[in-house]
Amino acid sequence: MTDNPFQSWMSKSVPRVEDDRLLQGRGKFLDDIRLDRLLMAAFVRSPVAHAILKKINLDAARALPGVRAVFSYNDLRPLLSLDRIPLALPSGAIRFDVDPPALAHEEICYVGEPIAVVIAETRAIAEDAVALVELEFDPLPVVMDPRDGVDKDAPKARLDCPDNLVARHVLKYGNGEAAFAAAAHRVKDCFRLNKGGGHSMEPRGIVARVDDDDLLTVWDSTQMPHRAKAILVNALGLSEEKVRVIAPDVGGGFGPKAVFHPEELVIPAVALKLRTPVKWAEDRFESFTATVQERVQIWDMEAAFDAEGKLLAIRGQLFHDHGAATPYGVALPYNAATNLIGPYALPAYDLEILMCLTNMVPACPTRGAGRPQGTFVMERLLDRAADELGLAREEIRQRNLIPLEQMPYTIPVIMRDGSTMTYDSGDYPECQRRVLEAAGWSEFDKRRDAARRDGRFLGIGLSNYVEGTGRGPFESASIRVGPSGKIMVSSGATAQGQGVKSMLAQISAGVLGMNPKDVHVVDGDTNATVLGLGAFASRQAVTAGNAIYLATRRVAEKARAMAAHMLEASADDLEIADGNIFVKGVPQLKVTLGDVSKALSGMPGYAIPGGMEPGLEAAVDFQPGPLTYTNGSHVAEVEVDPDTGAVKITRYVVVHDCGRMINPMMVEGQVLGGVVHGIGATLLEWMRYDDQGQPATVTYADYLLPTCDVVPRIEIHHMESPTPLNPLGVKGAAESGTIGAPAVIVSAIEDALRPLKIRIRDLPVTPARLRALIAAAQGKGAAP
């Protein structure tokens, strides 16, 4: 890697190649797909959280004019090669995998679980028919709390499982017992965290079509088309060349669209049976009840400190609600547990993670994927300790942040890929110092005191975090220069708004000295790229970005070698820019990339000039190795109205380090979206159920997403600590903004109400909940 990779277009805020179509309403989202003879699907879903399904009567639905077919489990099962959808991800922690059935039968385990599907000429007719289906149940007791659920006397959330403890894992290193015995200070607390769902503005959806030659083409609003294809091949008993999965324009993902849901198998199976195209476009009510979401975690935690406030050990238990199945393994609680450690030196850690089956929709990672919860717990414990020791909050953090000279920093935790958890680069103390400076932390006391004289309650908070990004094992990318001189890039990377096409185009264009607009990118299509993984774990710039960087460099080297032959020059004397390869300093001595591609395409019977291998193309499956750690520090200021419990965020400052940035504008877009997702999870978003497992918040009037008027302007400052782990030196940025938000906002709220000594333990902090805490504190005689 002798060249500077960041020439011309690199590291610049280039406008995105995706925008023009999307701005004109010419995007092609799932429900925009039009096909001849297309039929529409609607699902019959469970109206109860736990029951034995005694009887299902589909006669009236089948008789409705316009209905073409209705499938229950018994009708569908002969079309499948497996009884359950093969989703299990290997994990030693899982005691028994709970793969969901494509359609529920015998036992129903959450409200919204699909039971049957109606195929009709229009969606309206299909929904009319759904209303005519008769179901008879014998209700069963429900499990709604992950701590109660692992009690040995708890009812079973699934009768087909031995108990509710679906997985158990102990994360342990160091001598915690000795540390606690010797500790000068201990703090102990219990936190109950509800977590925001994904809530992409486009719900899920799927279209399946079978051609005359038996090719099954599936358009899926998914983050992982290659995984979807592998599951379809397996569950439908087809060969790989007969299945193509395409992710069209996808209107947001945020985690849930990484999970393969039952509908993604049912619709292709039905299309194969009926041999006519079928579409299912999820509506928002279905999205609230049947799309996987993040769920309740209860953390019972204790931390030990020495006399100077240095962390000695943390121990405790995490009770994690896993919902009614395990569609995505244990990634979510595992990320939460490991990310608790954050940018701090923690000598000993002992956490028992208990994953409990419940009668709610299965849990999955959403933006941040458990990390905001782990970070929240650590930052709360630090704030508690700061109060206990009489230290400032920034001071106790300063004393515990891993110093630059200890980087790379290894923690004795073994990761999913077998590597030891290692922070590769970053200057955590400097990151905190910069955010404090940018936010005017040291002058805040004056602002707070002045406001309090006016009867206003201002508070400020601080949080630090890391995020392991760029998860492997690999991502694919290929580049081909045609004889026309046009550049075509394809990758297993898959976009849901991140700007994957722009990112790949910008890197390729940077190496070839071209305009990104002249690079045509195909992503999310299993026919364009045989191998691929897709979008999860803030990984695509790290994995696909480096893959296309290396592939483009190979193409550039080959083009130079071929051009050297054609120009009778030395390859070392050649440069590439604007589609031309020319002799340095003599730009008129040139050939075009198209000329080179043409020469390498061969003529019938003639040798390839220069004895070179044919074709101007290269493909790289980049294996990133261990995770590369992004980090950040957030400061937020809030104003709390003690009469109503309302919280207004008045200022929000981020210092962010994701290594070298490919496109700073797009990095900032990811951070902004992440922070606002975190604001929602902290103050607004609460998926509620009654004690019988009925969802109580199934509209955006009940479940509140952050709106434009409740989020502040967010200031972002960058540090760039390149990672040594990949050639571009880049780290992921897509989830990191979310991770610091709950911790910093809650710290600021507690600070605003400091005279009341309020302790916030539960998320989200709604006005009613905060008002109740304030009232309780005032009842003890303290005045705000």
Binding site: D19, G25, R34, M201, E202, G251, G252, R284, G669, D709
Partner: protein, 164 residues
């Protein structure tokens, strides 16, 4: 089959005559009857704003208005915003410049809302708080809103209000 009603709706300057079920909402009419799929449906209960269009110049949630209610009226959708040759109008260009869109699903609704704000502005400079209040009926999960607020502020200056 339910009874069908004839409607004549003028969309982006073109008149469409169709027979529709009375329960069909305007968003479904636009998307499924006349194949203008740029108007998106995010919640179908009038909160998310993705389906925002202008009816006789005023913004409406097209998921909450029936197609039969727009009989004889004029509807503007995102497909009619750019010039015929595809040149972006100032609202669209500003959204791209300020990274006010990511996945693009909510974007058509944002564009139509800002278009209405420009019409109603009376040539004055908007404040950021006013812009945020006016855009608060459009949900976006990707951007954190900041880019679209900056885009709106740019096109809601007296200097830029006349341009289109």
């Amino acid at each position: 089959m339910p009874e069908l009603y004839p409607v004549k709706i003028h969309v982006n300057g073109t008149t469409y005559e169709r027979r529709v079920e009375p329960r069909m909402h305007l968003a479904d009419f636009l998307r499924h009857e006349i194949d203008l799929t740029g108007t998106h449906i995010g919640c179908e209960h009038g909160v998310c704003g993705a389906c925002t269009v202008l009816v006789d110049g005023a913004s409406v949630r097209s998921c909450l208005m029936l197609a039969v209610q727009t009989d004889g009226r004029s509807v503007d959708t995102v497909e009619g915003v750019a010039a015929a040759d595809g040149t972006l109008n100032p609202v669209q260009a500003a959204l791209s410049k300020h990274h006010g869109l990511q996945c693009g699903f909510c974007t058509p609704g944002i564009i139509m809302t800002i278009t209405e704000m420009r019409k109603e502005s009376g040539g004055r400079q908007w404040t950021e708080d006013e812009v945020r209040a006016a855009l608060s009926g459009n949900l976006c999960r990707c951007t954190g809103y900041q880019g679209m607020v900056d885009a709106a502020l740019e096109v809601l200056t007296p200097l830029n209000l006349g341009r289109d």
